[in-house]
Amino acid sequence: MSAGAELIRGAGLVKRFGGIVANDAVEFTVVEGDLVGLIGPNGSGKTTLISMLTGHLMPDGGEVVVRGRGMRGQAAHLYAAMGVARTFQLTQLFGRMTVLENLLVPGLTRPGSTWRAVVQQARSTLDFLKLGHLEQLHAKNLSGGQQKLLELGRCMMLEPAILFLDEPFAGVHPHLRDELITRIQELHEAGRTFVVVDHDMESILRLSKRLVVMARGRKIADGPPAVVREDQAVLAAYAGS
């Protein structure tokens, strides 16, 4: 684990859906400068964990702590205000708003933000993502890969300390996937912390400094990718035994 200050901590997080325990006392801490790959078979509880850590799901047990502050009962927009951004497994954009407007929304929620400065920041973000020429298009008209990029841009507009990306490479053309990886790496080098969930092992291994593996609602491994890859429990989980 990197040695930065603690950004976010899930302490003993529990979430049940009916009779299914989606997260079973999960301990998960991310420190500044981390680039965490969060992997696990389908149904292992990765998205549930992200949703609890970003305020979109209330835990049935345990607590989320953001920069030392307990977040019990807080709404998702307060997590965003504290620098916690996320994307969604199935891209969730403001479809009938323009690409530019999609970025203005998070920018303008920041206290003290001015319209002029946010428009300028949104345009430079679009240029960074190579979407500048599409700013007047409705977001629903973008391709799947472009939508993933725009969702990343929307996170960036919050100037977050930490970004949770839920399956950013799913269904994305290899060329755009490389584009996404490059952008994530650049943002990480600029000081952003990431937690990336995906099934694309090649991309995750290319990106991650730390690998966390979940299976059946529990965290089964956490450490440098080279070590985790050899972990017997991980191999067993992926082999389905």
Partner: protein
């Protein structure tokens, strides 16, 4: 010439004010009622079109505003504008409360909930006839002590213009952007830092306040209020007007109110048959022009005088500035 459409609208408004006295009493009444619907349609558009909160309780707030003002004026002898302001304030608070109660509802659930609310209001007003005079109708003190409709025309005009200006400032500000984001995807809006609950409540409070403004004016203009003002018939007419005009823009919603109200009068000779006609137009609009029949015309109108290069820009709803700053 940029902003040509604004000058044209100002010229039309000036002409309407200058030549209003030439209208016959009948058509002046139609114009006043059209402006009454204009305030209702634009405020419902703010709620249903911008924020995506498809409430069927809008006319209930108009009714509550109307009765509140009428009864306060009757009981305490307060000036009518103060009574109207009290009606607006009450409906802002009540609208906010309804918004809070149905925070987790959307789509058909919200529609059914607000429909239930509006029926409760209507039946309460009909039943409590000791206070409201029930279906016999409550006699309301009129705004002006004259038989001329001209002063009412000017007041309706002023109320419509002020309402549109206030709502225009809201929808062009960051609040308007947040409301549209909530309409598109509440979860994504909250992930973007938008205080979804606060803005949903705010949308209900503001829209209900304008509904009350329209309702209280209506009462003090017509001189009589019946519980049917808050009923489903009025609400259906409002939905037809707003959807046919275009519910996602204030001007098209108002345009829809004007067009439908004037057509309803022009087609009066066809009796009840004109109502199914509007039903058919509504169905066709939903099928072929979901943004409303007036939206393409409005977009063309907005482009008047714009250089070609910015035409494409004008087609989008890109906010260019924050009036709040």
């Amino acid at each position: 010439m940029r902003g040509l459409h604004v000058y044209i609208l100002l010229a039309v408004a000036a002409l309407a004010l200058l030549f209003a006295d030439r209208l016959s009493s009948y058509w002046m009444h139609v114009a006043i009622i059209a402006m009454f619907y204009g305030i209702l349609a634009s405020s419902w558009s703010l709620l249903a079109g911008y924020a995506g909160l498809f409430s069927l309780g809008h006319m209930a707030f108009a009714s509550i505003g109307g009765y509140t003002s009428a009864l306060l004026v009757q009981w305490y002898g307060i000036p009518i504008p103060v009574g109207m302001a009290a009606g607006v304030a009450l409906c802002c608070a009540l609208g906010g409360l309804i918004g809070w109660v149905c925070l987790r509802m959307s789509g058909p659930y919200l529609a059914i909930f607000t429909l239930g609310f509006s029926e409760i209001v209507r039946i309460t007003f009909a039943t409590e006839d000791d206070i409201t005079a029930g279906m016999a109708g409550l006699h309301v003190e009129r705004l002006f002590n004259t038989t001329s409709r001209l002063p009412y025309f000017y007041v309706a005009f002023a109320l419509l213009v002020v309402s549109l200006l206030l709502m225009g400032v809201i929808v062009r500000s960051r609040w308007g952007l947040f409301l549209r984001a909530i309409r598109e995807d509440e979860q994504a809006a909250s992930a973007s830092g938008v205080a979804v609950a606060r803005f949903r409540i705010l949308a209900f409070a503001i829209a209900s306040g304008f509904a009350a403004l329209a309702g209280s004016f209506y009462g003090h203009y017509i001189g009589i209020l019946t519980p049917s003002l808050g009923g489903l018939d009025f609400m259906a007419v409002l939905v037809v007007m707003t959807v046919i005009g275009g519910m996602e823009r204030l001007p098209t919603a108002v345009g829809g109110a004007f067009v439908v109200e004037f057509l309803l009068e022009l087609l009066r000779g066809y009796g009840q048959w004109r109502l199914p006609l509007f039903g058919i137009i509504l169905l066709l609009t939903m099928r072929f022009a979901r943004n409303g029949l007036l939206t393409p015309l409005w977009l063309k109108f907005v482009q008047l005088g714009e250089p070609r290069a910015v035409t494409a820009m004008a087609l989008r709803d890109v906010p260019q500035k924050d009036p709040a700053q």
